[in-house]
Subunit: 147 residues, 2 copies
């Protein structure tokens, strides 16, 4: 098993604002996939649609406003069954995000791509919460021919 791990800090922000960006369709479509639909409650499935394809995430755990856990139920073969977790905390005026995409079977080239791409989207999340404007797909930074 190999994991993708990331961290960003978000200046002058609150846990409530950050949690909303991860748990509402309006928030999620503001930094990850502009085309985001579905049910964001525990047990619901959120449908993220990107230029290169789609990902369906089941919402497994929600602890307002500190923890979110998703499980991939449809999408790229390498993603199915993997989990994406978000742990949030307040430090002074800032919030911190610890991100983990876990359960990859092999460190394939696609995992390298996804690791870099997650960093791009975390910077988009940071921008959304700090400035009100993220860079979700299809306006995301393209890192290679896989998008």
């Amino acid at each position: 098993m190999v994991d993708i791990l990331h961290k960003v800090g978000i200046s002058s922000s609150t846990l409530d604002d950050l949690y909303a960006a991860l748990t509402t369709l309006d928030g999620l479509s503001g930094w990850w996939a502009s085309d985001t639909q579905g049910d964001t409650a525990v047990g619901g499935v959120v449908h993220f649609r990107f230029e290169p394809g789609g990902i369906d995430m089941k919402v497994v755990e929600l602890d307002p406003a500190t923890h979110v856990l998703w499980k991939v139920v449809d999408g790229p073969a390498e993603w199915i069954g993997t989990t994406v977790s978000w742990d949030l905390r307040q430090v002074g005026d800032n919030t911190i995000v610890l991100f983990k995409h876990q359960g990859w079977k092999e460190p394939v080239e696609f995992m390298h791509h996804c690791s870099t791409k997650w960093a791009v989207f975390l910077l988009s999340l940071k921008a959304l919460v700090e400035t009100g404007k993220g860079a979700p797909d299809p306006r995301d930074i393209k890192i290679d021919t896989w998008n």
Copy 2:
């Protein structure tokens, strides 16, 4: 052991240009640390100096123009003894970088930070080779209070 893995593709580039960005002081100072000095030959040590501190890398392997391997000989405690490898290949008019920072003992919070920060610097490397202008420290994108 846990690894940081990344990938970027660099448009309209050659392996020679990309390899130069990883194996010359002029190249390295253009995307990673503006203050880069030392000996870039095999067995040499390159001194990277950042706002938050310094990293010394021993150049362990150089296969022009496809592979570079560094070993961390001084820097943050968690980094010492870890290795950073770069595998490069040409695909049509583009080049591809597969990046690995391996040998971390534990997936500590600092590793999450470094994973995201490496992605930021890989985008800087991509920009340098594509446009001639990267964003090395201290002009790098700051992702949290660790810089």
